[in-house]
Subunit: 242 residues, 2 copies
């Protein structure tokens, strides 16, 4: 049969397909968002459903993916146009039958992006931001992957200064607090929160204080990475208790 010719990769033992999927989080100032893509209406699996962006490990061609993280980064850039963003592997999803077509092992990553910077991907697929905690009915086992990502993000925030990845370069203390409250689903005392953050000594005050809207304009801050590294060294580690 001529159609057999397309199966040109041969192995002695069965091999699964391997993908990197990305849970891309953003924050619009109100709630945590996740970027999803709509699957093709003619797909053999979950046609028309919303799904986490992801793609197969590229093994041949001019630029094979060096590892699963690079694969995820490539996917992320295709969807958002962004490079050099925070991204991290957090789990492997490999249950038999999770993809009806063939056995697929998925390495899940979560990424934190400044939502304002996202222009729109090079990919033709329809992509859209959804409230991260409200989506359901995603394709495959992506509901579970998303839940796990949210849970991992909540943990990570205690050990890495990841909040700033979701905010604009310059932000205010109330903004930061609202973000933390959105991620952790709790409310903080305004004064204690500021005290705790300031005690970390990882923010720089930004001089300009635009006088425009609101009763009183809050200070502007910027995350100071050098200072963070210095403090991390000094206290050997980073920890933020809530």
């Amino acid at each position: 049969m001529a159609s057999e010719k397309k199966y040109k990769y041969h192995y002695e033992y069965p091999h699964p397909a391997v993908t990197s999927d990305c849970v891309i989080f953003g924050y619009d100032g109100k709630e945590l968002k996740v970027l999803l893509i709509k699957r093709d209406d003619n797909s053999d699996a979950y046609p028309g459903a919303w799904a986490l962006p992801g793609g197969f490990l590229r093994m041949d061609g001019d630029e094979p993916d060096f590892n699963m993280l690079e694969c995820a980064r490539r996917e992320l850039e295709e969807e958002t146009g962004l490079k050099d963003v925070y991204i991290r592997e957090f789990g492997v999803y490999s249950d038999l039958g999770r993809d009806p077509r063939e056995r697929v092992i998925t390495v899940a990553h979560f990424a934190l992006v400044k939502i304002q910077d996202v222009k729109g991907g090079s990919d033709a697929q329809e992509a859209k931001w959804f409230p991260a905690r409200e989506v359901s009915q995603l394709a495959f086992d992506h509901d579970r992957i998303l839940r796990d990502a949210l849970s991992r993000l909540r943990e990570t925030i205690h050990f890495e200064p990841v909040g700033f990845e979701l905010l604009p370069e310059v932000f205010t203390m109330p903004q930061l607090q609202e973000l933390y409250e959105a991620i952790l689903e709790v409310k903080f005392d305004r004064r204690n929160f500021a005290k705790k953050i300031n005690a970390l000594e990882i923010l720089s005050e930004v001089g300009d204080r635009p006088a425009n809207a609101g009763p009183r304009t809050p200070f502007h801050y910027r995350f100071n990475k050098e200072q963070y590294e210095k403090m991390k060294m000094k206290r050997n580690g980073f920890r933020l208790e809530f």
Copy 2:
């Protein structure tokens, strides 16, 4: 060619081989140990080198692995004869070229076993316990996987009562302390350590107190799982600060 017949699995796109590897930790009362296996002297890759036990995802046959964790459990049982032990995925290793023969994606797990319970595997391979922090020159990128596992174990101990997995059913407070010191590479004050552990209320005292060796015989304890679950619920979560 007749030899082509052995490559009987065909795919439209290239697929990597996928394995689960296990970092199996044990504790002999003195130091943290890791179980390694010696590779075949005739292997095409790293012949005769010591390596982490691991195996390919089983996809065909009567009992395919349901997922990577089951694959790791199967491997673990083959090496140690043990079922129902603590095991957890902690990372994916996928760098191009990490296996010289073909592209291999490895899902790494770490397991905690009571070293006294390990009889010896059903596998014919030579297996041996090594001091976990001293081994090097392992096959593939297993040096790095082991380092990462040690680091993950250190983190995990703050959020899960994993120490007991490495000790005999019945143990003493000094034993527990020495284990924690071995894992975290620090020294604790005896009194504060006992106080902190007791405050968790997850141990049961065991009546028998054998009078044999040593100046004074310490109390015997047992990890009380029901009590742990109760306390975890009550305090929503488990945390052990050091």
